[in-house]
């Protein structure tokens, strides 16, 4: 069977199974278990209505529980056990072993760098783009072009930027634009940008900033549009210049949105894996936690330390998680 046909058949089975569950489980509930007929009609309707929410949510709860909630606890357990010792409980051994690994601290340091730079730069560029495109006639086209990298995979972006950072020997023409510009500006030899410790982190971050700026721009642009015109008009009447209007009138009114954008990008940054994996694979001091974890789990097959690293990522996400839940509950009241 050709892969295409095989794919089609599996698609039909997968999707069909899903539709069938909802249809037949409802039929079962209404027609067989508690039919709204006979002497118990009223009671049956109430019973059926009490069960139906769980029928509707059943697959979702099962999937969420199994694929997101259970792994948190299982990973915690794995991080406290040693696989090679048959899964024996070893307490904090994995964590201490990890703390003695230089690569781990390098990953932590880099993750903090990413956390400092990427959300800040993406939000700043996004805000700039949102403000500038807001009032010009071709603003929507400009926005959709800046937004475009959102659709490109991290791996695709890695290839795109590897071409930009490409370095060739000194005596042949440079095909990486960064080196071409650098030599044009008087640099003496082409530089392999991705192998210079510390700065290569910045070159990797640029990829993510390039992708995330569009996201920040779209959200902030909507927030800017939501600012009441009167506040801006009043400021103009009072003689404020455009910069004062932006920083003193608009910024304070969209600060809530800026925080949301910032935290959303922060979560993306904490999980960043593909870019580092595809571009340097953590060599030349560019390791990050997610890639470190992948290394430990699937290359070194050390589930204990890998899980411990995953728990560190979870730990860093937790404040945002708590804050989100707090906000959501406040809103529902």
């Amino acid at each position: 069977m050709s892969p295409a046909l095989q794919g089609l058949v599996t698609i039909i089975i997968g999707v069909g199974g899903c539709v069938a569950y909802f249809y037949f489980s409802n039929q079962l509930l209404d027609k067989v278990l508690f039919p709204p007929r006979g002497p118990d009609a009223g009671r049956n309707i109430n019973r059926a209505n009490a069960i139906r929410p769980w029928l509707f949510m059943g697959p979702a709860i099962l999937a969420l529980g199994l694929y997101l909630a259970y792994p948190v606890f299982e990973t915690l357990r794995l991080s406290l056990t040693d696989r090679s010792a048959g899964g024996a409980f070893v307490g904090m051994d994995n964590y201490t072993q990890m703390a003695q690994d230089g690569k781990f601290w390098e990953a932590v340091r880099n993750n903090f760098l990413w956390l400092l730079i990427v959300p800040a730069m993406s939000t700043a560029f996004g805000l700039l783009a949102a403000q500038l495109t807001d009032r010009i006639s071709w603003g929507n086209i400009a926005k959709s072009l800046i937004f475009m990298p959102m659709a490109i995979s991290f791996v695709g972006a890695a290839v795109i930027f590897k071409l930009i950072y490409d370095a060739r020997p000194e005596d042949v023409a440079q095909i990486g634009i960064l080196n071409a510009v650098y030599l044009q500006l008087g640099g003496d030899a082409p530089i392999t940008w991705l192998t210079i410790p510390f700065w290569n982190n910045i070159f990797l971050m640029i990829v993510l900033i390039w992708i995330q700026t569009g996201f920040a721009m779209v959200i902030l642009s909507a927030a800017l549009r939501g600012i009441p015109e009167e506040t801006v008009e009043a400021a103009i009447v009072d003689g404020a210049n455009p910069f004062q209007i932006f920083f003193k009138i608009k910024m304070p009114q969209i600060s809530g949105t800026i925080v949301v954008v910032w935290t959303t990008i922060t979560i993306v940054v904490l999980k960043v894996f593909d870019i580092v994996f595809a571009m340097t694979n953590g060599q030349w001091e560019t390791q990050v936690l997610a890639n470190y974890m992948y290394d430990k789990m699937f290359r070194a097959n050390d589930w204990g330390v890998g899980s411990a690293a995953a728990m560190i990522i979870m730990l860093m996400v937790t404040p945002i998680l708590v804050w989100n839940v707090y906000n959501a509950r406040k809103e529902m009241r």
Binding site: L66, L128, I136, F147, V159, I236, A278, A310, M314, V325
Partner: protein
Amino acid sequence: MDSIAGKKSGLTWAVHISVAALVLLWIFPTVGLLISSFRTTDQIVTSGWWAALFPAVQNETLRTADPDDFRVARDGMFVVEGNLYVVDGSVDDAADVPAEISAWGTSSRAIDDYVAGDTADLGDGEMITVQSNGDYLWVGDEEQLSGRGQRVFVTAESPPEFTLDNYRGVLFDPANREGMSRAFMNTLTVTIPATIIPILIAAFAAYALAWMDFPGRALLVAAVVALLVVPLQLALIPLLSLHNDIGIGKGYLGVWLAHTGFGLPLAIYLLRNYMVGLPRDIIESAKVDGATDFQIFTKIILPLSFPALASFAIFQFLWTWNDLLVAMVFLIDSSGETTVMTRQIVELLGTRGGDWEILATSAFVSIAVPLVVFFTMQRYLVRGLLAGSVK
């Protein structure tokens, strides 16, 4: 705002120019990859992609046809006639020559001694004339016109030249084991069910969370919000061993389930927020008319929620299409039969690091579909983003 006094036209120009600069900066990288994917190997190696936009000036060493085979007698002399580019094999017919020779020479020390149309005197009556399209006429006596063809050094300007060969090789060459056609189909096989299944599951759950009354509803909503940010890295090992234990192993079923699980929190969150905003009257009057919840859901809620369904579908599609990590862990086994495009590209980055024609083309094959989806459905994507993050 333009109508309000105090807006200087100088500032307006500055805004236009800075937006243009920003846009150029942002599309520049992608354009580079796109152009590179249409260039031949030779072109990519000899010049940066930006050079492809302008006519290229190239120095080449060409050779006339071998006199022993091609010379003809004319007026007591021997003559070899033809076109340098045809002899070189770069074109089949002299009419197709793309380049225009501006200068040429017969010695490597003086490659630009003559301009097109000139006749070079090679001594003792031996002469060669080269035209701008590479046509040459080489005249000499029997002894002079023997052995190999005369070398001609040309400086030629060729217009921008693009080729579809890279795409042919990457997509349609069945002999190419590094090709993308199989990976493309695999990615599609992963993506479509992994987009549709979570929508189905989430839509039912979102309806229950939005419009049904039952104990623990608020708690479940909070749980969904919490799960929104749980890093999927935590799920890799526990779920892989689970899949192995229950016999799914690595395969499509596993990767669909994983994508479904990871996509659900966002799906439920987006859809519930949207459904809560639907008018209560419609739902209540349908209930009064005796509609069951299942009917209300399929006949009223689903059609009304189309914008939210579409925006989540785009998210999930982009995310599963572009995913690398989940596919590597849950799908791709050691045989590599089920490799997806992102994985294939990472492999190529390792094995074909310098072959940019292959890399650029492969990457663009995988980028093209999301880009099309992005530009056609951008409206829904933006709406989804706003619903998902602005409170």
